[in-house]
Each structure stands twice: as structure tokens, then as C-alpha cells.
């Protein structure tokens, strides 16, 4: 009798330990984010509304990450983060003037120091991908739609000022400015519908972004989007 009771207690304790163990295994992405990412990334909004706030922002806003990113890219990137903006999160924090010319002091640009393991990355990705902008139109861009590369290049590099700030690959050569994020891997990184929405109204996403809002027809904006997300 005594023996049986002991067994029951032991079994109960074992069950508790296993249950507790499995709770640890199923990571809470929001909690991991709070501990490892939230000191630099804003996942609740809003974006800064003044130059001062922009200068203090340490890392890109993520409160609409689920609208902006492709899941696979995000999960990979979190495991081996590397800078996407050659001029840092905000160029003014990294610019130096030498001999009358501005340049970025690359020593001051640090990669995200929070490298997560696969399990942590999976949970954080799940959390971030649920952070969607409720107003963004989806299903606007069909990634496989054919477009004229010649027209896209004309729009991106000549007719509109995109190339001034963004680096793209043109015929295997990287070309363009650096004050905005590089777009050489944008197809893997960004949701085409978000690229379209971002071009349409940059200040909706980030009121103090240094990207201009330019009137464009749907067709031109669609061509620019397809160009940005196309493998180049």
C-alpha cells in the first residue's frame, strides 16, 4: 500500500517535470523578443514623429513586420543578422565629412548583436509575422507577373529618383545611392504588396522617413515594385 502510494507520488512528480519541460520547449516568441530584441526594435509603434526621435531609433521598426517581410527570409536573418542599410539605420548618425566630401564611417555600423538559435528564431518569426498592418491592401501584386525590365530601369534610374538612395543590381553590377536600404536582395526579403504600399505612401509607415512621396500611376508603381522584388 505504502509502496503504491510512493509510486503514485513519483509518477505525479515525473508528469509535472515533463509538463514543465515541454513548456520550456514551446518558446513564447513574444517573450523571446522582449528579452533579446525589444531594447532596439519597436514592435508596438508608433514610428518616431520628429527628427530627434529618428536619430534615437536604434533599429528598424517591426510593428508591421508581418506585412513587410517574407517569413523564410526573416527566420533565416534572425539567425545570422547582417546590416541591410549601408549607411546604418539613420545615415546622419554615421556620416563624416572629410576633405569636403561626406562618407559613412563604416566602423560605427554594427550588425544586430542578438543572434538567435533556430528554435528562438522560429518563435520570434511567428510572433513578428502576426504583426500585420490592418489597413494594407493585400493581393495587389502578383510576383510572377511579367514586366518590361527596360521600362523598369528607366523608371527606377532616370524618370524617378529611386536610384539616388537605393542600391540595386543592374546587369550584375551594384549601383545606386546608400542613404536608403539596399534592394539587391529585396525579392527574398520583402512582401511585394508592402513594397507597393511603401512606394505609395512612405510617410504612412514612417512619418519622418527621408524617402519622398511621389505621385505615380498604379501601372508605374506596379512595375517599380516588380522590379524591386525581382531576382536581379
Amino acid at each position: 500500500m505504502m509502496h503504491n502510494r510512493l509510486l503514485t507520488v513519483a509518477w505525479g512528480a515525473l508528469t509535472l517535470i515533463v509538463a514543465a519541460g515541454s513548456e520550456v520547449v514551446a518558446l513564447d516568441g513574444k517573450a523571446v523578443f522582449a528579452e533579446r530584441c525589444a531594447s532596439c526594435h519597436n514592435a508596438t509603434g508608433p514610428a518616431p514623429a520628429s527628427l530627434e526621435g529618428v536619430l534615437e531609433r536604434k533599429a528598424p521598426d517591426l510593428f508591421y513586420a508581418g506585412s513587410k517581410f517574407n517569413l523564410d527570409w526573416l527566420e533565416q536573418w534572425i539567425q545570422s543578422p547582417s546590416p541591410i542599410r549601408r549607411s546604418g539605420v539613420m545615415f546622419l548618425n554615421h556620416v563624416i565629412t572629410e576633405g569636403g566630401k561626406d562618407r559613412i564611417n563604416e566602423d560605427t555600423i554594427k550588425a544586430c548583436p542578438s543572434k538567435l538559435n533556430a528554435e528562438e528564431a522560429g518563435s520570434v518569426t511567428e510572433y513578428l509575422m502576426a504583426l500585420k498592418d490592418p489597413k494594407m491592401r493585400t493581393g495587389v501584386i502578383s510576383r510572377d507577373k511579367k514586366f518590361s525590365m527596360a521600362q523598369a530601369l528607366r523608371l527606377f534610374t532616370k524618370q524617378y529618383p529611386c536610384i539616388g538612395c537605393h542600391t540595386v543590381k543592374v546587369k550584375e553590377n551594384e549601383t545606386g545611392g546608400i542613404s536608403g536600404p539596399s534592394l539587391t536582395d529585396a525579392g527574398a526579403r520583402l512582401n511585394p504588396d508592402w513594397v507597393y504600399a511603401r512606394i505609395m505612401d512612405p510617410q504612412y509607415w514612417d512619418p519622418k522617413t527621408w524617402m519622398p512621396k511621389i505621385e505615380l500611376s498604379h501601372e508605374k508603381r506596379e512595375t517599380l515594385t516588380l522590379f524591386v522584388v525581382s531576382p536581379k
Partner: protein, 120 residues
Amino acid sequence: MYRFAAVLGAVIAVAMPSLYDAHAATAQENYRLYCTQCHGITGNGHGINADGLAVSARDHSSAIEMSKLTDEELRLAITKGGEAVTKSELMPPWAQVLRANEIDELVVHLRKLCKCVAAK
């Protein structure tokens, strides 16, 4: 009593603009945020994007170049972009980002940078 009203009025007049628009940006702030990426921190046309530009950004510190332009031309270039003044399309239009009074203030700021007066 009248004196009190006058003082109160003055206080409201001073406080109102900042209450009305908590984040009103100065021309200097707008210049740093939007213009220096191409025109440079000192305004000399050598910003961080300058090397990649097919057409050089204008040197705002050059009295010789800037005094050839009227204030209306500067206002038009900022508002509608380079194309509107038959210059490079790489200069974007800022009308949908900056308010008319902010653009006016930028024109004043440009005159300080070039230390020059507008062409007649």
C-alpha cells in the same frame, strides 16, 4: 484688467504654435533629414549618395551658382522636383512631404547657406 488681458493674450500667442503642432520641424532640421543625403552635410553637393548620382547635386554653398537662381525657382525645384526646373529627375518633388511654409523656410535657409541673394 486690460493689462492682464494683454499679458494673457501674449502668453497664448507664444504658446499656441507649439501646442498646435508639437513636432513642427525647423528648416535646419528638414534640411538635415531630407536634403543632406545628396547635397551634403555642409550643402556643398557632396552628400553620401553623391558618387552614385548621374548628375551632380547642386552646391548650395556656392554663391556664384545659387545667385543665378530666383527664390521662386528654388521653391519650384523643392516643391515639384528637378524636372520642373529642367534639371535632374533625381531631385525629388517634396510637395507631399513638406508644407508650403516649410518649403518657404527652406528657401530662406538656402540663402543662408550660399550667403547670397536671389537673382532678380
